[in-house]
């Protein structure tokens, strides 16, 4: 028995999660145990995992071989900088979500709490194993277990058939993608069918094969990450799932796909061709624009967030692609910058998106409503959730001084200094991509204002909203944790960048830590101070100073009363809550500007309608461009093949007869 290394601790934590789940399913009738003990315990494990990963991130890689797996291929585990970083992400996010879930889960229809406890923690464990796996088989097992457990979590309310449909679509896409990954491992595998990542690193795949492996991996991981055009499952599955699960999927699970692709393209395939990067960049950009536009026109709050996840994943892939481009042109410094931006955004998105999903969860519990058109004015009923949601909203709108801005800033920086690439076209295009990113960020702002304004501000659009109650204590703790994360990640960029240094060194062989740390913790200047610099601390500080100052001055200098009156609204008399902008209304300008993007069906009232009603349905065109045609092709195939089955025994005999004769003739000839 070797001494207990860090990786053993990490493994133990992951297994403790599994254990918690099993306890939960064993004592499934003891609800207090599950909600008040087990889930908080899971949160503690999350913290522990984050701590371990933090301490392991700049250590030397550690490996471990488990006694299970295939006879010739036991499970290999490996803890290096990359996996540590993502484990950190997993642990930190899981801590918040678990503690929230402790307050969130209820008895009632849907999967029983005990079983949910098992599935949820199995989900966590499998994600940890995905990040630890060091051979193809272990990775696939963990990967698919992750898909399965999350599928069962998504379909926990399987009475509703749209939820069933969502789950079905999700698992289908996930599985097809997984087969893609599997085949890519098959291509990369060492000569003697050796599926350990070590063998894949050393085994030189030649000719067309690396590209095939990369494309297969891109297909597989893209399907999981929700990259265009494989994104369709995402806006279905996220709303269907219970909110902590949506948070977990959107916040962490999508990142495991990023991790996988990073692992494959840098660690295993050594980032060979520049056009891989260009491809990633284009796909990412397309997804980002698509997601941003669609999130602005949604009427279901969780769908809105789901599309915004697509957008963020798109941004991450853009950074990823840029990193690949730089790396393939051997520009390690710039590659490091882009990679930092990418990883940083992964972390940020994990925090603010799960925060927002959890907030929708609280709203859902308080109002039983997901439809934006039926919400509003919750700021008076649930202040905690509102203000914490505001943090998430600002962060995901990419506004300073929160974390979303930092990563977008870094991304733009990495785009601005691309001149000098051997590829003339790239030199021309990349700055334009920067412009597109600016557009995307602005659209994200639009979507977030819509989300926050319609849900929390204004007048309640339904009577029942008056009974809405704020989030419980445990839920608040979870939300607070994540919100604090958003703030700190925004305020301490240098700390994070120094943290990321080992990762970038591992992947692209260079880091920013020196440039970052040379200015002290408060000033972020990745390249040099007169190149570009940003100091969130001063930023926030000055606002925090100015605001009270102004307030103090104004209210001291002019002591005037403050009267409560009915709203003026240009003197229009009867104001009802139905007169506010609905979600459709708010999205209308976008619908109008980007009309070619949408497949919409509308229903206008005519002047003579007794019950005039307006309905506008915006659909994802990819259904009609890609998925329905595929379905049609398959259907055609089935019709052809069904024709072979006539039910007549003579025909069947004829088949065997013909087969026999054909084979005989073939063998002789």
């Amino acid at each position: 028995m070797h001494e207990f290394l860090l990786i053993d601790w990490v493994l133990t934590t992951a297994l403790v999660w599994l254990l918690i789940g099993l306890i939960g399913v064993v004592f499934q009738h003891n609800f207090t145990l599950i909600s008040r003990v087990l889930f908080p315990l899971g949160a503690v494990c999350g913290l522990a995992l984050a701590g371990l990963a933090l301490s392991g991130i700049d250590g030397s890689p550690q490996v471990l071989v488990l006694p299970i797996g295939l006879p010739d291929l036991p499970f290999h585990l490996r803890l290096d900088a990359l996996s540590s970083f993502f484990l950190l992400l997993l642990g930190a996010t899981a801590a918040g979500i678990s503690i929230y879930a402790a307050g969130y889960i209820r008895k009632g229809e849907g999967t029983a709490p005990g079983l949910q406890c098992l599935l949820y923690h199995l989900f966590l464990t499998s994600m940890a194993f995905v990040l630890l796996a060091d051979d193809g088989y272990a990775f696939m097992v963990a990967w698919e277990t992750m898909a399965l457990s999350s599928f069962f979590l998504v379909t926990s309310e399987h009475r509703h058939d749209e939820i069933r449909r969502a789950g079905y679509l999700y698992l289908l896409v996930a599985h097809v993608g997984a087969v893609g990954i599997l085949l890519s491992f098959g291509v990369m595998a060492g000569s003697a069918g050796d599926y350990t990542f070590d063998a894949m690193r050393d085994f030189p795949t030649l000719g067309i094969w690396p590209t095939i492996a990369f494309l297969l991996a891109l297909f597989g991981f893209g399907a999981k990450a929700g990259l265009l055009p494989l994104h369709v499952w995402l806006p279905e599955a996220h709303p269907a799932a219970p909110s902590p699960v949506s948070a977990m999927m959107s916040g962490v699970m999508l990142k495991t796909a990023i991790y996988g692709l990073l692992r494959v393209s840098f660690d295993l395939l050594h980032a060979q061709l520049w056009w891989w990067g260009a491809l990633l960049l284009l796909l990412g950009l397309a997804s980002a624009i698509f997601g941003a536009i669609f999130s602005t026109v949604q009427t279901d709050m969780k769908r809105l967030l789901a599309y915004s996840s697509i957008e963020n994943i798109g941004l991450i892939f853009v950074g990823f692609g840029l990193t690949l481009i730089f790396q393939s042109f051997a520009m390690p410094q710039l590659a490091a910058l882009a990679l930092v931006a990418t990883l940083y955004h992964c972390l940020n998105h994990a925090f603010f998106k799960s925060l927002l999903f959890l907030c929708t969860g609280s709203v859902l519990h308080a109002t039983r409503e997901r439809n934006l058109g039926k919400l509003g004015g919750l700021i008076h009923r649930m202040p905690w959730v509102t203000w914490l949601a505001l943090v998430g909203v600002l962060a995901s709108a990419g506004l300073p001084p929160l974390n979303g801005f930092v990563s977008e800033w870094l991304l733009l920086q990495s785009f601005l200094f691309t001149s000098g690439l051997p590829q003339g076209y790239l030199n021309m295009l990349l700055p334009l991509v920067a412009g597109a990113i600016a557009l995307i960020a602005a659209l994200a702002g639009f979507a977030m204002v819509k989300f926050f304004g319609v849900v929390f501000l204004g007048q309640p659009r339904e009577e029942k909203l008056a009974q809405a109650h704020d989030a419980g204590r445990l839920e608040r703790i979870g939300l607070l944790w994540l919100a604090a994360g958003c703030l700190l990640l925004g305020l301490l960029p240098n700390v994070v960048i120094t943290l990321l240094d080992p990762v970038t060194r591992q992947l692209v062989g260079s880091g920013l830590s020196f440039a970052a740390s040379s200015h002290g913790w408060w000033l972020l200047a990745p390249i040099s101070e007169d190149r570009a610099s940003y100091s969130p601390a001063i930023f926030l500080g000055s606002i925090v100073v100015l605001m009270p100052l102004v307030y103090w001055v104004v209210n001291r200098r002019f002591r005037r009363r403050l009267k409560r009156v009915p709203p003026w609204d240009c003197g229009f008399p009867l104001q009802t809550s139905r007169m506010q902008d609905t979600a459709e209304g708010f999205g209308q300008p976008i619908r109008r500007i980007f009309s070619p993007f949408f497949k919409r069906t509308r229903e206008h009232p005519s002047p003579f309608d007794t019950q005039p009603r307006y309905r506008s349905l915006v659909e994802d065109p990819f259904w009609y461009w890609l998925y329905l045609p595929i379905a049609r092709i398959v259907g055609y195939g089935t019709r052809i093949i069904a024709f072979l089955q006539q039910g007549r025994i003579a025909i069947y005999l004829l088949y065997s007869f013909v087969t026999l004769i054909a084979l005989l003739v073939w063998t002789r000839g």
Binding site: G453, S542, M547, R560, P589
Partner: protein, 317 residues
């Protein structure tokens, strides 16, 4: 940190706070002359502000704390913005704190909050205004960023001070790209400051107003702060335009005397800038809200062209 920087910073902030309303008044005056109306006094904005400050605040019943906090936040954002833009000197203590991108972020922050405030009371016009404001915002922001990118490609930096340094104190070079960028910037700043042809700060005609619609529910000191913030924004944009496209006379060396000179030059530039804006406003008519995308799209395109022109003509590729 050196005291010169601190001093310059404070001076700049002070000038911004004082001059902003006056600039606003100046523009209105010019416009009045151009439309040969009798002009309001130069300090008209100040009168309005003090009047508002002395009034009671009438707050809608369901106005939330966010609604009440917004004016202070917006005001401080704008103050910070005008402090960041290097107008008198490039030696500012805030200049490392935020580069061009961060500045855009700052404006965006203010916009988001004013839009949220507009939705808060839950009146029909408020949310309508916020919607339009966000629409204009998400179209204007990328254009503005592209303008910044062009200049930062020229200066190989996004930090405003460095940009101004490069443009002002390098031996004189003609940058064709700057011409495009300048036009784009002008269009954007018209849109951002709620000016004709995008919006009309003077009107309260329900169907056309954008900025006014959002702040309908504000009154008293809140309204005053918001108006002041608006004029600060205008000031900041003008200074930005000056700093980017007419940076001559902004001293780099750290001597107080130069500051005075710079201040004088700044005033002249502002006066001219204000006049030009008034001219534009007079010559153009307010456009339908759905023409705005085309307008700002053009701005974005110009900015892109500027960048391409820079990449084609001004770098050795």
């Amino acid at each position: 940190m050196n005291f010169y920087a601190l001093f310059a910073q404070l001076l700049e902030l002070a000038i911004a706070l004082i001059m902003a309303p006056i600039l606003n008044g100046w523009v209105n005056q010019c416009r009045a002359w151009l439309q040969n109306r009798s002009a309001p006094p130069l300090l008209q904005t100040y009168y309005t502000l003090s009047k508002l400050f002395h009034k009671d605040v009438l707050l809608a019943h369901n106005a939330s704390s966010l609604f009440r906090a917004a004016p202070y936040l917006i005001f401080s954002c704008m103050a910070l913005a005008s402090a960041i833009v290097p107008t008198l000197s490039t030696e500012l203590i805030f200049s490392p704190a935020a580069d061009a991108i961060a500045l855009v972020g700052l404006f965006a922050l203010a916009r988001v909050f004013i839009a949220l405030a507009g939705m808060d009371v839950g009146t029909s016009f408020g949310s309508l205004g916020s919607r339009r404001e966000m629409l204009i915002g998400f179209l204007a922001e990328p254009a503005l960023l592209m303008v910044f990118f062009t200049v930062s490609l020229i200066a190989q930096s996004t930090s405003l001070s460095t940009i101004v340094e490069t443009l002002a104190h390098r031996e004189f070079v003609i940058y064709p790209s700057l011409a495009f960028a300048g036009v784009a910037f002008t269009m954007v700043s018209l849109a951002e400051n709620a000016r004709v042809p995008i919006d009309n700060p003077a009107t309260h005609l329900e169907l056309t107003m954008v900025h006014e619609a959002m702040i309908l529910e504000y009154s008293g000191r809140h309204l005053a702060l918001i108006e002041w913030a608006a004029s600060l924004k205008l000031f900041a944009y003008s200074c930005l335009g000056i700093a980017l496209f007419f940076p001559f006379g902004i001293p780099s060396a750290a001597d107080p005397a130069a500051l005075v000179v710079a201040a004088a030059i700044l005033l002249v530039k502002l006066a001219m800038g204000g006049f030009v804006m008034a001219l534009i406003e007079t010559l153009s008519a307010k456009m339908r809200i759905f023409r705005v995308p085309e307008f700002l799209g053009t701005a974005f395109l110009l900015a892109v062209l500027a960048m391409l022109v820079h990449l084609l003509l001004e770098t050795g590729q």
